[in-house]
């Protein structure tokens, strides 16, 4: 109960911190919308020559684009969020303060990243999706049931994304300059989440593997859950996400134990 309240307070603070940057939010909405239009016209051209590419018709492909724009900031598909801050704290030694507190490091950052994601979903996600829906013919579901499945799928997308970025950020304990690693993490996410091109479009073995990787849980799966195109069922998609979340969070926990032991014993 106490833990729940603490983490809720942390999430709320994460939400508030991002809410203070109004100009950045407005700029983000603008960028997402422009990016959405560029991708949308590219996809229109692509689907015009290859109808039913990746098993999507054109309006489904466009729905995928705008869902991606809605999740881009929330699920930190191009990196960022807590990752930069955590990494900076490792680099400058402020992480000592975090270690000193009566908290669990992973849970703390997860709560704060969920708060951030909640803000960015509302602040940066809703508007681009609405603009996309007005400007194009999207295959958004009419049934509330699908939207109700979409919500937990988005939550799991954020958790998986967090768990991945947490692993990358922890590497900062060994590599003091992890900017290259952060860039790699962002690149992998951009590509394997389906942000640039739905993973269903990837041919052969590459496609099969890409769809099994954890990044696919951050966009491909939520988009399919929303459109009802998830192979199997929406439930299978959610289970896939939850499985990766569990595996990656556990891995993060193990790596965290090793990393903090290193700091505690060697002084970082």
């Amino acid at each position: 109960m106490h833990l729940l309240r603490l983490n809720f307070a942390v999430a709320l603070s994460g939400f508030r911190r991002y809410a203070t940057y109004r100009v950045a939010t407005a700029a983000g909405v603008f960028t997402n919308t422009v990016f959405g239009f560029i991708l949308a016209y590219t996809f229109i051209a692509l689907w015009h020559t290859h109808p039913h590419l990746g098993g999507y018709d054109q309006s489904q492909a466009l729905t995928f684009v705008w869902t991606g724009q809605a999740l881009l900031a929330a699920a930190a598909l191009m990196g960022g969020g807590f990752q930069d801050e955590f990494h900076e704290r490792i680099r400058n030694g402020d992480v000592a303060i975090d270690l000193y507190r009566p908290i669990d490091l992973q849970l703390w950052w997860l709560a704060s990243d969920l708060g951030r994601a909640a803000f960015q979903l509302l602040g940066r996600g809703v508007v681009p999706l609405a603009v996309g829906a007005l400007a194009f013919d999207l295959a958004l579901p009419a049934s509330p049931r699908r939207w109700l499945l979409f919500l937990p799928s988005v939550l799991l997308a954020v958790v998986v994304s967090f768990a991945l970025r947490y692993l990358f950020a922890l590497c900062g304990f060994w590599l003091l300059d992890a900017t290259g690693l952060n860039a790699l993490s962002a690149l992998l996410s951009l590509f394997f989440s389906g942000m640039l091109l739905p993973l269903t479009v990837f041919p052969g073995a590459l496609g099969e593997v890409a769809r099994l990787l954890p990044w696919s849980a951050t966009l491909q799966v939520p988009a399919d859950v929303l459109m009802g195109t998830q192979p199997g069922s929406a439930g299978a998609g959610l289970a896939f996400q939850a499985g990766w979340a569990l595996v990656l969070l556990t891995a993060g926990r193990l790596l965290q134990t090793v990393a903090t032991r290193k700091v505690v014993v060697q002084g970082g």
């Binding site: 309240r5 603070s13 000592a96 303060i97 000193y100 507190r101 700091v263 002084g267």
Partner: protein
């Protein structure tokens, strides 16, 4: 629970050795050992306010980190409130407050008030107790107008006062302050010092204060622990530091006319002359009276005054020696 002999913080033969790997060739890396803390021992009693000083790189921050439990000692024994800080960190954390002057425990983008709200949840501070402690700190540290300001907009001195408050909301028994007055102006320093005195007097909080500002120590601490190169140089009352550091008092003598440097006064030596004025140094522990009567008998005295040894000089001499 304290140790049987009343020690609240008990440090015995504490060492910390860092292994630093450096690239020494294309592929070769050599490991060098840094003995940051090299066998120090001291004991702090409950309610004591102790100055912990030493030159840069002496091992002060490393010691404080070990006392808080975020760094394990390489060897030696360490007990805070009868508990090994590293092994039982979660138990001890609620009894310790820490301020690292160079870092902040506050959240950059949040108003102070929100940061304190998070601290309350982390430390599970009962609401009434929290409100009481906050109100007290706000009053004594004059934070009233700043509670709704995001931390990034606070000045250094304001932030430091905010940090000190954050470290005290959970009523710690012991407070470690690592350079809490660094970069503060005179007014802020005075406010922080007065606050620490009040805290120590009213709550009996044990305070270990690290600083490079010796006037902090002079005003706050009766006792000092001096370390250098990870070794204990001095542990005792502030006054006793003068003797150890070969503290000297100075007799400033104005003569009727310019004379050669005064000689032949036992226990004193002339360190400077300037026209009819001469400066004589003598041990801080010696009495000035026999010197003065000797001088008055042998020299044409017009005026004289005594200068107390400067603690900065004393420390500087200790570090150098």
């Amino acid at each position: 629970m304290d140790d049987a002999d009343g020690a609240f913080i008990d440090v015995r033969d504490l060492t910390k050795t860092f292994t630093v790997r450096r690239r020494s060739g294309l592929l070769r890396r050599t490991a060098t050992r840094v003995h940051a803390v090299d066998g120090i021992s001291f004991v702090l009693r409950r309610g004591e306010m102790t100055g912990f000083i030493g030159p840069n790189g002496a091992g002060k921050s490393t010691t404080v980190k070990m006392l808080t439990g975020i760094l394990t000692p390489t060897s030696g024994r360490l007990r805070v409130a009868g508990v090994d800080p590293w092994r039982e960190r979660t138990r001890l954390v609620r009894r310790i407050g820490v301020v690292f002057g160079q870092r902040t425990t506050l959240w950059w983008d949040l108003p102070l008030r929100d940061s304190y709200g998070l601290v309350r949840r982390m430390y599970r501070i009962p609401r009434a107790r929290f409100e009481e402690n906050l109100a007290r700190c706000v009053e004594l540290l004059e934070l009233g107008d700043l509670l709704d300001v995001p931390v990034r907009q606070l000045s250094l001195g304001q932030r430091m006062r905010g940090d000190i408050t954050a470290a005290l909301l959970h009523d710690p028994d012991v407070l470690y302050l690592d350079e809490p007055t660094i970069g503060l102006d005179i007014v802020s320093k005075a406010r922080v010092r007065q606050f620490l005195l009040t805290l120590n007097a009213e709550r009996g909080t044990t305070v270990l204060l690290t600083t490079h500002d010796l006037s902090d120590i002079e005003q706050l601490c009766e006792r000092v622990v001096v370390i250098d190169h990870g070794r204990l140089m001095y542990d005792g009352p502030l006054a006793g530091l003068h003797e150890v550091g070969r503290g000297e008092r100075t007799l400033v003598v104005d003569l009727e006319r310019e004379l050669p440097p005064i000689e032949g006064i036992p226990g004193a030596r002339t360190v400077r002359t300037e026209g009819p004025r001469q400066w004589l140094a003598f041990p801080a522990s010696a009495s000035a009276a026999p010197l003065v009567s000797r001088l008055a008998a042998e020299y044409p005295l017009v005026d004289l005054s005594i200068r107390e040894p400067d603690i900065e000089d004393v420390i500087a001499r200790m570090y150098a020696g």
